[in-house]
């Protein structure tokens, strides 16, 4: 083949022909690094298990009870769903700051349609979901077609949606009993099952199922692979023939739709519908779960299962500290430590290729 080789290349024939020989005696640390690189959800899972063990040993059987553990799941359901939506956006190297307020306005719209306007509950839910998707679509169009930075776009829509929410609702809370009598469908996700002392709500099950569906879509469909490719290297994805604008737009729209789904679950959990929930930092909690779950803020890396583990870590830590009677600020402090630790580990794992 190489008959016409250049003069200086003649020595190549005598060069070392052993190709791609891998050093079998890699240090343990290197092997761990490789394992974590190929299994991005492993770190949060390990941290989660460690957290459960540590709190279990200090608190004792009270913490290990299935009642406590399932209570944690109930507490993280909403942040888990929002985190799943946030994961989609962060995988494309974007960020969605508006996700929390999209959830609140969707909840308010669902409640108003069903209770104040007396629409059938199914229609009210559909309108609420559509409203969330529409907010996401607005983000998507601004990011994909106007080519504005996602941080700026969603910072803007965060404020716009929050103000719209207060203006539209006149900050009036819809009472629990009104929802219960007129639109019990909105409380669907509060349904609970008792298995021994474990209490599972439909909301918890919905969270887990949603994450599993998204995991399938991200890993086993072309669209999912495109989401990763766009976040990894948008220019390369475009040259490979991926319609990057379409992918970005569907990601933001889907994130809005999932936020509206979180709204439905949150109505079940809270009972009443309060527009003033818009000031809660849901979006930051979702980003925290995502980051602790090992999703890289630079895009293209991480597993959505990690996000669920990330949300659970926060839930376990706050419940554990609560039961220990610690100052609630310790939870905030520990969350900060976890965020920085997660990003530091992400940077270390990325170096595997270097």
């Amino acid at each position: 083949m190489a008959q016409a080789a250049q003069e200086f290349e003649k020595v190549l024939s005598s060069s070392d022909t052993s190709v791609a020989a891998f050093d079998e005696h890699k240090s343990a640390v290197k092997r761990i690094q490789h394992f974590l690189h190929s299994t991005p959800a492993a770190v949060p899972l390990i941290v989660l298990v460690l957290a459960i063990i540590i709190f279990g040993m200090t608190i004792g059987g009270r913490f290990f009870s299935s009642y406590t553990l399932t209570l944690i799941l109930q507490q993280i359901a909403i942040v888990g769903i929002l985190g799943a939506a946030q994961t989609l956006v962060i995988l494309t190297a974007g960020i969605d700051l508006s996700i929390g307020v999209i959830m609140v306005i969707s909840a308010v719209i669902m409640g108003n349609c069903a209770v104040s306007y007396g629409m059938p509950s199914v229609l009210a839910v559909a309108i609420g979901l559509a409203a969330g998707a529409a907010c996401g679509l607005l983000n998507g169009v601004l990011v994909a077609y106007m080519k504005l930075p996602p941080f700026i776009v969603t910072l803007g829509t965060w404020n716009i949606v929050m103000a719209t929410n207060f203006i539209y609702s006149a900050n009036e809370t819809i009472r629990d009993t009104d929802v219960n009598t007129q639109a019990p469908l909105l409380h669907l996700f509060a349904l609970s099952f008792k298995v021994g002392t474990a209490v599972l709500t439909l909301g918890v099950i919905a969270t887990v199922v949603l994450v599993l569906i998204l995991w399938y879509v991200l890993n086993h469909t072309a669209w999912g692979r495109h989401v990763y490719a766009v976040g990894d290297d948008q220019e390369a994805a475009k040259l490979s023939g991926i319609q990057t604008k379409k992918v970005l737009m569907t990601v933001y729209t889907l994130a809005g739709l999932i936020a509206a789904f979180a709204a439905w679950v949150s109505i079940g959990r809270n009972g009443s519908i309060s527009p003033s929930a818009a000031v809660t930092d849901y979006n930051l909690q979702a980003i925290t779960a995502t980051v602790i779950g090992g999703i890289s803020l630079f895009g293209g890396r991480g597993s959505i299962l990690g996000t669920l583990f990330g949300a659970m870590i926060v839930g376990v830590v706050s419940m554990g500290l609560n039961m220990l009677g610690a100052d609630p600020q310790w939870k905030v402090l520990l969350t900060g430590v976890l965020i920085i630790g997660a990003v530091a580990i992400d940077q270390w794992i990325r170096k595997v290729s270097a």
């Binding site: 040259l239 991926i242 293209g300």
Partner: protein, 260 residues
Amino acid sequence: MTQEPILTARGLVKRYGRVTALDNADFDLYPGEILAVIGDNGAGKSSLIKAISGAAVPDEGEIRLEGKPVAFKSPMEAREAGIETVYQNLALSPALSIADNMFLGREIRKPGLLGEWLRMLDRPAMEKRARDKLTELGLMTIQNISQAVETLSGGQRQGVAVARAAAFGSKMVIMDEPTAALGVKESRRVLELILDVKKRGLPIVLISHNMPHVFEVADRIHIHRLGRRLCVIDPKQYTMSDAVAFMTGAKLPPEAALAA
């Protein structure tokens, strides 16, 4: 040449503001040949290649693929017509696997309900075809088809990009500086790969600044200067210094070459 060209371009003009990147440029590619395109920086090589590969739409001029006029508005349209491009930055997604990268944008779905309704990818089929293609091109030093592209060396990545182009290109393959970032040994592998692709009957357009590489593999050399085709020379009849002299304007090309 008595053969009909696969692709011809006549009178291509492309302006970027007040800069004229292509000034009535012509281009011909014949079946089964390796055509090298050389030229100084700013001569308009990239603009010419972009016009052919669909990455840029020329302001004027006509491109014909197998005699039929074509007007690509995006790289996707050129790809659908059978023109594959290996870009200088390779256009690979580092975090995705080799198989996923080869099929990026044209994935295979599972047959039946799984593919139709759940849109499930047919990983085994994609991995098999990727492995076959890599083996065919002598690239099986890669052990694991599902390993991430970022764990490969520069030459192996180039190999994956070339294999992707060869697997899907039905009419022609364009390669932009395929050896620019590679070492001596890896450059050799890529040149062998280019000759391998040619053996399979696919014509190749090779853009390169590396004169030894160009003179080794090219059948004809298209010299681009000041936004247009200056001449086409036979590498067996001219030396590298002649080519450099034509390309920089130090020497005027012979009449015979101008007519080509």
